[in-house]
């Protein structure tokens, strides 16, 4: 610890420059863009290139800045509350993400549990098998499901061959396909942290419970589940947060009545070319996600403190 405090005093100009590089990069390409989004969300749409009237014109100096603050308009935000499409998209994104997260947990828990209970020698291979799909393209994995879920697709062919159904099931272009897509794409994000916390679980606790005559299912509920809770929470956040803003899955697998805010933003931007409104949509989405993001980071911090 004394080392860490001592180092900054020794820092040379070169060292300072090294720190400055990634810092400046993120300030310019990550933080500044958000301020611009916020600024443009307060501007008016205009038929020009770029298609908005700037809310702040720095060329006019201080006077221009003061003038601009007076002209800031919250019209885009008011518009978002007036048109039902937007708030319906927000609500339905959160609902779809929550339902998908629940299903991911129900499918992911037995996988992570099975991995943690498997012989030591299998574990690196199993871990690799969970990580590998994460490296293959998201777009490709979503695309693969189109061929499976189509009316004349492989799933319907298979079910009809078995004689389970007479008419093809309509799955593609419904919300069910979106759930399947999210569960499939985000499953590794949930399994990895969950496996990490299940693997650390002290097996002697379960043995003690068994010796004292506790049935296995009860031991599972009373010991395994509470102790794996940090992994469950971390995994659920990792699925839920990006799923709320998902675009590719609802666009390719969902139907015209699948409302998700990522898709709404995309249409607003690319089809309607309304940059100010899509900026306002992004600002609100960010405000909705800030709560789970902060909760997630707090939880991560608590976990790392416990380990240390």
């Amino acid at each position: 610890m004394s080392e860490q405090i001592a180092t900054p005093a020794k820092r040379t100009i070169g060292g300072k420059l090294l720190i400055a590089m990634p810092y400046l990069w993120l300030l310019v390409f990550f933080l500044a863009p958000f301020l611009i989004v916020f600024k443009i969300s307060l501007s008016q749409i205009a038929v020009s290139i770029p298609p908005y009237t700037p809310a702040i014109d720095l060329a006019e100096g201080w006077q221009g800045l003061v003038e601009a603050f007076r002209e800031f308009s919250f019209e885009n935000y008011i518009w978002l509350t007036e048109d039902a499409l937007y708030w319906k998209s927000y609500v339905s994104s959160v609902v779809i993400a929550a339902i998908s997260t629940l299903f991911t947990l129900l499918i992911g828990y037995p996988i992570a549990y099975g991995m943690a209970r498997s012989p030591q020698a299998w574990r690196p291979t199993l871990l690799m098998l969970v990580i590998l799909p994460f490296w293959t393209s998201f777009l490709i994995r979503v695309y693969a499901w189109i061929g499976i879920l189509k009316n004349e697709g492989l799933l319907n062919q298979f079910l009809m061959m078995l004689g389970l159904i007479d008419e093809p099931l309509v799955i593609l272009n419904t919300n069910i396909a979106v759930y399947i897509g999210i569960v499939y794409s985000y499953l590794p994000f949930l399994v990895l942290p969950l496996y990490a916390s299940l693997e650390r679980l002290d097996g002697s606790l379960l043995e003690a419970a068994e010796d004292l005559g506790c049935p296995p299912w009860k031991a599972f509920w009373k010991i395994t589940v509470p102790l794996s809770l940090p992994g469950v929470i971390a995994g659920c956040f990792l699925v839920f947060i990006p799923a709320v803003g998902e675009f590719v899955i609802p666009d390719l697998l969902g139907g015209s009545n699948t409302l998700m805010i990522g898709k709404t933003l995309w249409v607003e931007f690319f089809n309607n070319r309304d940059w100010p409104v899509s900026s306002a949509v992004a600002v609100i989405l960010l405000m909705i996600l800030v709560i789970p993001i902060v909760l997630f980071q707090n939880q991560q911090q608590k976990m790392s403190e416990k380990e240390g």
């Binding site: 080392e3 405090i5 180092t7 900054p8 720190i19 990634p22 810092y23 993120l26 390409f29 990550f30 863009p33 958000f34 611009i36 443009i40 499918i107 037995p110 996988i111 549990y113 099975g114 209970r117 498997s118 012989p119 199993l126 690799m128 098998l129 590998l132 799909p133 490296w135 293959t136 393209s137 998201f138 777009l139 490709i140 994995r141 695309y143 693969a144 499901w145 189109i146 061929g147 189509k150 004349e152 492989l154 062919q157 499939y184 499953l187 679980l201 097996g203 990006p242 998902e246 675009f247 590719v248 390719l252 990522g262 933003l265 900026s279 992004a282 960010l286 996600l289 993001i293 980071q297």
Partner: protein, 274 residues
């Protein structure tokens, strides 16, 4: 957890991994389908791969994508490694929590927000959009992933080796290249590969930040997918999946061998010491 697997555990593993891999396996199988109808098997054929080689638009897009991915992964690895060193080594400095916030936020931030905000930045700066803007955008979010990967490597790092070198009069820059870098190299390589594949995959951020003449492969695939499923796309996807799988497996074998070698070296060094 030490107890052996039950039938329930094995069944859930088999079902779970089938769910993860079956769609990709089916995609690969149907790329060798003779029939143009993707879901009806018409016999084995490699004609879709041959027709890929004729498709110049697709090849152009692939070339743009590879260049973007290579350049952005390389810059992101340098910046991300520096960022990881700062996070682990620098102790307190002004704006540290802002810095770590900016490293972790892009990992969970929806891509539509990142893409939109970067585009608006490029428009505000008056930059012509194309290859360079996509490359800068990819560098920005990929460097955060590199930072996280390298950071996890740095945390388990034995600082005493570095201190020994400096005590013996080795200048800091030389210490970095002779001692620090070789030890964190597996993390740096893994970071580069992750950055490369992230850039190779990205549709949303590239769509926002690109301009005329810089259509990437995912954008091309996406616009074709919207028109329907074709065996040609299955073939492109199969090639991409194959490439990534080979790279990941090779990298994990290399890092494993390096680790074994390093541990042996360290044991030998300490053994000679005592």
């Amino acid at each position: 957890m030490t107890r052996g697997p039950t039938w329930f555990n094995i069944t859930s593993l088999v079902l779970g991994f089938s769910f993860l891999y079956l769609p990709i396996v089916l995609l690969v199988i149907y790329s060798f389908n003779e029939s143009r109808l993707v879901t009806v098997w018409g016999g084995f054929s490699t004609k879709w791969y041959a027709s890929l080689l004729q498709n110049e638009q697709l090849l152009d897009a692939a070339w743009v994508t590879l260049r973007v991915a290579f350049a952005s992964a390389t810059i992101a690895t340098v910046l991300g490694t520096l960022a990881a060193l700062i996070l682990v080594r620098s102790g307190r400095f002004m704006g540290r929590s802002l810095f770590s916030g900016m490293i972790f936020a892009p990992l969970v931030m929806p891509e539509v927000i990142l893409g939109l905000s970067l585009l608006l930045l490029f428009v505000a700066m008056g930059t012509a959009r194309g290859f360079w803007t996509v490359m800068l955008a990819h560098t920005t979010f990929a460097m955060c992933y590199v930072a996280v990967v390298v950071q996890s490597r740095l945390v388990g790092f034995d600082k005493s080796i570095e201190e020994a070198a400096e005590d013996l009069g080795c200048p800091p820059v030389k210490t970095f290249f002779l001692i620090t870098l070789p030890i964190i190299l597996p993390g740096v390589i893994a970071g580069w590969m992750l950055a490369f594949t992230l850039s190779l995959d990205d549709l949303v951020i590239a769509s926002f930040t690109t301009g005329p003449g810089a259509t990437t492969l995912p954008m091309k695939i996406y616009s074709q997918v919207r028109l329907g499923v074709t065996p040609e796309i299955n073939a492109v996807c199969t090639i991409l999946v194959g490439l990534v799988t080979i790279c990941v497996i090779a990298a994990s074998l290399v890092t494993k061998r390096q680790q074994v070698q390093r541990e042996r070296d360290e044991r030998a060094a300490f053994g000679a010491d005592g």
